[in-house]
Amino acid sequence: MKKNHGIAVLVGAGLLLASLNAVAHHSVAAEFDTNKKVTFTGTVKKIDWMNPHIYTHVEVKGADGKVIVYRVEGGPPNALYRQGIRPEQLPIGTVVTCTNCSRSKSETSMNVNGRMTLADGKAALGAPGGPGN
């Protein structure tokens, strides 16, 4: 019974926070197709700690051996800094997972937006997107 309550709380909170992220910044809708989802696990190759959004470059090796580099969009660096988040907290080579992240509307862009997590399930480098303007 208690377990069910916990799941209900987490699902409710997750859905609500996801919806708030979607409306917080116009470029989420302007840049990403929320119906086009992708899930992947890979290693961090590079972090662009730059405005208006940080990008974490994640190298993913497919079953066919082909390497894809996704760019996971994060929040604005100033806002992340104020939350105590620093790029050094995600060393190059760290394994991260992006679950049900939205793909870019552009067919050729490898930008994605969504929650990126560490192996222990904790968020990597803060919330996705976030208010940029």
Partner: protein, 333 residues
């Protein structure tokens, strides 16, 4: 019974999270949350004790705002008296968390500037067709969420950021309204004669003379931020801003204004830590009635400093075509 109980718990959980999110502008996000939070991380802040001035929509409350001023939150020091300039007027100087307001028409945030209550709050504005759906809206569902004229209704219905882009996505100047609505905080510098707004958003600024002897040149060209003039009404600074180029929107959501809009902004520093800010939109071309947002600004703690922000340095979505590049309109009105 189990299903019913679970449903109740779920609803309560959602409401709890909703309340938490609404309160977030007044609460500094905890440092860290990742492995090994940096030693230089800003210290967590306690929730503010609240200020004398009432807050109404338009900002950190129901008015669409959250994470105001980069979640600048409550100041570390207890509130003291309002600081004063040498001329005796309130000194608004400080680094402020102004509420992030991405939607100035959010439910409960549109006030009637002509109906001030005895307690200093304002009555909600009412208008024809309020809340009705816009059948011809492009770029998502829209309603008569403001008292549009036919000109304003069409501008609002036609706004489609996905199809046409937005000037802010192209890193062009956001303009007076969207600068004040932005989430990253504002540094104010003031003396007897003028007030300077240093917006962290894209490191933009605007300057407001408050000395009645100062006169702007009459033939200044129209601009993104407009031209502002300040005057005092007792302890309240009133700023009127006109002279816009017609390219800008009121907020991230895309609410329209004409190039002839006049913003009437008021700033009242009620104590050392708090400013009550109102903005009234006077734009007869776009709106049948004047309307107002009321917001509360909080002083940031000293460790929260104004930072550089360059929108252009890594706007990858624009570079690779994911964001449609906004084009200057052939005519502005």
């Amino acid at each position: 019974m189990r299903i019913r109980w679970n449903s109740i718990v779920t609803v309560v959980a959602i409401l709890a999270v909703f309340v938490l999110v609404q309160v977030m502008p007044a609460v500094q996000a905890p440092a860290g949350g990742q492995r090994g939070a940096g030693a230089a991380a800003p210290a967590p802040q306690a929730p503010t004790a609240g200020a004398a001035a009432p807050a109404q929509g338009g900002g950190g409350g129901r008015g669409g705002g959250r994470g105001g001023g980069g979640r600048g939150g409550a100041p570390a020091a207890p509130a003291g008296p309002t600081p004063r300039l040498p001329n005796g007027k309130p000194d608004l100087s400080g680094h402020w968390a102004n509420p992030y307001t991405n939607n100035m028409a959010a439910r409960g945030s549109v006030m009637d500037p002509t109906k001030k209550n005895a307690d200093g709050t304002y009555a909600p504005l009412t208008w024809d067709r309020q809340g009705e759906a816009l059948a011809d809206a492009k770029g998502g569902a829209k309603t008569f969420d403001l008292p549009y004229t036919e000109w304003g209704r069409k501008k609002w219905a036609d706004y489609d950021v996905v199809a046409n882009g937005d000037y802010a996505g192209t890193c062009l100047p956001f303009g007076w309204s969207r600068n004040i609505n932005s989430p990253h905080g504002t540094q104010l510098l003031q003396n007897n004669d003028a007030l300077a707004f240093l917006f962290e958003q894209n490191t933009w600024h605007t300057w407001v003379p408050t000395n009645p002897d100062f006169k702007w040149p009459k033939d200044l060209p129209p601009t993104w931020n407009g031209t502002s003039v300040g005057r005092w009404d007792g302890d309240t600074l009133i700023i009127e801003t006109t002279g816009f180029n017609g390219y800008t929107r009121l907020d991230t959501t895309g609410h329209p204004h004409s190039k002839d809009v006049k913003f009437i902004s008021t700033f009242l520093r009620t104590d050392s830590n708090t400013i009550t800010h109102t903005v009234t939109v006077h734009d007869p071309k776009a709106y049948t009635k004047d309307w107002m947002n009321v917001r509360t600004w909080r002083l940031k703690q000293p460790t929260d400093v104004l930072m550089e922000y360059s929108c252009e340095e890594n706007n990858l979505g624009l570079d690779d075509g994911a964001i449609v590049k906004w084009k200057f309109p052939e005519t502005v009105d």
